[in-house]
């Protein structure tokens, strides 16, 4: 008595899904989560990883099974089954991937919105600014101006970037990505990328340093510009990356959630020392950060090198 093949297929499918779920939930491929972005990102990663594992194992399983089961044995000279197609089957494997892909697309859109990346679309000031600037690529002016409702930061931001762009004279500000949501005021930091270093400047206290120091659980607004070529600001533990493009000032907002030191990496080929263009972001406890600020406040621009190792 043979087990019906439909039953075996069903069982194989269930095992496959279980394996996919297990792998997606238990195989850790990502570095530690250190910003409010990271857990959201990791949710998306987990979903993608589960779907990918099921698909990959399923297809490779079918392939290997076919190669073994249907291999040509010695003495066989005939042809295989003369099946030229199967329309319902074709419709099935067009529809299923289409639905999966649509689901993944909508889900990642949702993730992106939670990260703050889509906000300028619905942003009143961005539309206003765009109208002032005549649209085009400039419709992003005012960019990160106000993201996340109910937070204090938008107000302060709107007054800066919004005012600039509605005046039509100030530099355009291009949006990066970054959530807000904490009800504390954002820390402003200016980032200048050049061959081959990141220079951070704290307008509040006039501190210039080669190392980024930020407090935990407080939004940081990085205003980025590049002096020479394109660089990219990347903190793997924050799951954040933004190109720093000459002629295109960009704002990137993030909230660190885990004290510690994490690498800042330049991710865009910027010349011979591109690989050496690295720095560190130090995430302090709140009072630790205040202490760092206080300690470095007297330090002048000229002694930036002395300022960096502290903290």
């Amino acid at each position: 008595m043979q087990i019906p093949s439909s039953l075996i297929t069903l069982l194989a499918g269930m095992v496959l899904v279980l394996v996919g779920l297990w792998v997606g939930n238990n195989v850790q491929l990502l570095p530690v989560e250190a910003s409010s972005n990271a857990p959201i990102y990791d949710d998306l990663f987990k979903v993608l990883f589960v779907i990918s594992t099921i698909l990959f194992l399923g297809i490779v399983g079918l392939l290997v099974f076919s190669l073994i089961r249907f291999r040509r044995r010695p003495g066989q000279h005939g042809d295989g089954l003369a099946i030229e197609g199967n329309l319902p089957l074709e419709i099935l494997w067009t529809a299923v991937p289409a639905i999966v892909v649509l689901f993944v697309g909508i889900y990642s859109y949702d993730i992106y919105e939670r990260m703050g990346g889509m906000v300028p679309l619905n942003d009143h000031s961005a539309h206003l600014a765009a109208a002032h600037e005549g649209g085009g690529m400039g419709s992003m002016a005012g960019a990160m101006g106000s993201m996340g409702e109910g937070s204090v930061i938008p107000v302060s931001l709107e007054s800066s970037s919004g005012a600039k762009s509605s005046a039509g004279k100030g530099p355009r500000v291009w949006g990066g990505i970054g959530p807000t949501g904490a009800a504390t005021e954002a820390l402003n930091v200016d980032l200048t990328a050049m061959q081959f270093a990141f220079i951070f400047h704290y307008p509040d206290g006039d501190i210039t340093t080669g190392e980024l120091h930020v407090p935990v659980d407080r939004p940081v607004e990085l205003r980025m510009k590049a002096n020479d070529v394109i660089h990219a600001f990347w903190v793997p533990q924050f799951r954040l990356k933004q190109d720093v493009i000459p002629g295109q000032p960009t704002v990137l907002t993030f909230t660190a959630t885990r004290p510690g030191s994490y690498p800042i990496v330049c991710a865009e080929l910027c010349g011979p020392y591109h690989g050496g263009m690295r720095s560190t972001v130090v995430v302090h406890e709140t009072d630790g950060f205040d202490a760092w600020l206080l300690k470095n406040r007297p330090a002048t621009v000229a002694s930036a090198a002395d300022a960096s190792p502290t903290g």
Binding site: L29, Y41, L44, L48, S52, F56, I59, L62, L63, S66, L67, F70, R72, H77, G78, D79, G80, L81, A82, I83, E84, G85, N86, L89, E90, T94, P97, V101, L102, V104, Y112, G117, P120, L121, M137, M140, W174, G175, I177, D228, V229, A232, W234, Q237, R239, K241, Q242, I245, P246, G247, Q248, T250, P263, V265, C266, A267, L269, G271, P272, G275
Partner: protein, 557 residues
């Protein structure tokens, strides 16, 4: 199906065209000669590109920059990318197999424009020599194969200009080839041969050539503007003169994303030819395969900005390109399911051609899945410009296309030379390539996720072990070409004589002698209604080596 007998084999006088081996070094108009010229030239550049990859992997075996100088390293990675794309994969998968096979498949004696065809090939060696030579004379370009300004404007100008010139020549060659393929497939078909009777590779080449003709001129224009910026100090892409660097990225990727399909669609076509022959089954779902090629062509033109998710592009653009890119997975998926269905229930010969094709399916599914993940903006923002992307695209272009090129060589070598390749060496070649490839590129995904950016000569010491694993994989890939080389050279003289049709295939290139005569068939070109009619009509079955009982049991189960 009539086969001309090989009785009238006297060589006919061919005017001034050289005969014998010399014709492979001549301005030959024969599409078969040109195809092999493309193939061998491409292989020479493959070894150069591979040596450059060896330099990169040697440098990355240690976390500090200690093997070559940093400037040299950037030249090497620029040359590696440019050589592999423009001098190896695109010419071989389009030019070599396209020129050799398409006239056969449409039942023609040659391509539509034989002279243009020869010109297209002969643009390649000077362009390649120019590119490689620039390293020794002026120093090669240092800005990567993407040549993003302002970096490409500030690195030494001479190397960058030579790079632009070389890519323009290669782009021109590619456009000439594309026009030729479109004309041949649409206009040179034998009377009675309908479009829906064409072997799948013709459809793939038609789609590819449409992409080539639509997008390559954009690259050419962009590079000309870039050269103006360098030579004449114009400000198209120079932000200090009011230019916009992101515009360059849009224009560049408008070509360079379709370029991925230019490299991969012909490979899809070749696999569609190889699998049915060795699985002894019709190609599953011919019509959906055709439509999915066309869908990939259309979608492939509207996904370019997914390379620019971190470049400060507007949110609506990110959303649009995420969805468009994800949807390419649907027609691509259709093709893979159809190939699996082609294998299902077949009589699969586990020879080198089949193994390389199945290796392609394995690798490409992996690369395709990471590709769908990369299409998602939030995912991409973390891994963009990291080794994750390096791993992903090598799974597509090496694990995908290069595996198919090897598969196609094992499949068509008997047609090129009249002799079979050695199967044991072929399987060894597959095993080494497959292991080496996966060892080299699989760890790179983890490296990218955890913080290693691409195009670096030095990296965080915590990544050392996996980089060394990757370098060992690269070494294995280098070694794997040895059995292949020995096989190809020795088999040309000592290989088992193949006969005209060693695989009992039905497509028209097998319905002539091996190697074929100059006019492809003595007498009339065969009209093949069903290029994949395996196991169906008894008349097309290889009755010679199958008993009636076998046909009955395999066909009627």
């Amino acid at each position: 199906m009539t086969l001309a007998s090989a009785s009238d084999f006297e060589p006919q006088p061919e005017g001034l065209q050289p005969q014998g081996w010399l014709r492979y070094f001549s301005f030959s108009l024969d599409h078969k000669v040109i195809g092999l010229q493309y193939l061998v030239t491409g292989f020479l550049f493959y070894f150069i590109g591979g040596a450059l990859a060896g330099v990169i992997r040697t440098e990355l075996a240690s976390p500090i920059s200690d093997f070559v100088s940093r400037e040299t390293y950037n030249q090497v990675l620029t040359l590696h990318g440019t050589v592999m794309i423009f001098l190896w994969i695109v010419p071989v998968v389009n030019g070599a197999f396209g020129n050799y096979l398409v006239p056969f498949y449409v039942g023609a004696r040659d391509m539509a424009f034989p002279r243009l065809n020869a010109v297209a090939f002969w643009l390649i060696p000077p362009a390649g020599i120019l590119l490689i030579g620039s390293y020794f004379i002026t120093g090669a370009a240092q800005s990567g194969w993407t040549a993003y300004p302002p970096l490409s404007l500030t690195t030494p100008a001479a190397g960058q200009i030579v790079w632009i010139l070389s890519v323009l020549l290669l782009g021109g060659s590619s456009i000439f080839g594309g026009i030729n393929f479109i004309a041949t497939i649409l206009k040179l078909r034998r009377p009675g041969l309908k479009m829906m009777m064409l072997p799948m590779y013709c459809w793939a080449m038609l789609g590819t050539s449409i992409l080539v003709v639509l997008s390559t001129p954009v690259l050419a224009g962009t590079l000309i503007l870039l050269s103006f910026d360098i030579i004449a100090h114009t400000g198209f892409f120079n932000p200090s003169l009011g230019g916009n660097v992101v515009v360059y990225q849009h224009l560049f990727w408008f070509y360079s994303h379709p370029a991925v399909y230019i490299m991969v669609l012909p490979a899809f076509g070749l696999v569609s030819e190889i699998l049915p022959v060795h699985a002894r089954k019709p190609l599953f779902g011919y019509q959906t395969m055709v439509y999915s090629i066309l869908a990939i062509v259309v979608l492939g033109l509207i996904v370019w900005a997914h390379h620019m998710f971190t470049s400060g592009t507007p949110p609506w653009m990110r959303l649009f390109f995420t969805i468009a890119t994800s949807f390419i997975a649907v027609p691509t998926g259709i093709k893979f399911f159809n190939w699996l269905a082609t294998l299902w229930g077949g009589r699969i010969a586990l020879n080198s051609a089949m193994l390389f094709s199945c290796g392609f399916i394995f690798n490409f599914v992996f690369g395709g899945i990471t590709g769908v993940a990369l299409a998602q903006v939030p995912f991409d923002i973390h891994v963009h410009d990291t080794y994750f992307v390096v791993g992903h695209f090598h799974y597509i272009v090496y694990g995908g296309t290069v595996f198919v090129i090897f598969s196609a060589i094992y499949h068509w070598y008997p047609k090129f030379t009249g002799r079979l390749l050695n199967e044991d060496l072929g399987r060894l070649h597959f095993l080494l390539t497959f292991l080496g490839f996966n060892l080299c590129f699989a760890p790179q995904h983890w490296l990218g996720l955890n913080g290693m950016p691409r195009r670096v000569a030095e990296y965080d010491p915590s990544f050392t072990t996996l980089n060394q694993v990757s370098s060992v994989g690269a070494l294995l890939m280098g070694i794997s070409t040895l059995p292949f080389l020995i096989n190809v050279v020795v088999s040309a003289w000592r290989g088992q004589v193949a006969g005209d049709n060693p695989w009992n295939a039905l497509t028209p290139e097998w319905l002539t002698s091996s190697p074929p005569p100059v006019e492809n068939w003595h007498g009339e070109a065969p009209l093949v209604h069903e290029p994949y009619g395996y196991g169906v009509a008894p008349g097309t079955l290889p009755l010679a080596d199958a008993t009636g009982e076998e046909i009955w049991s395999s066909g009627g189960r």
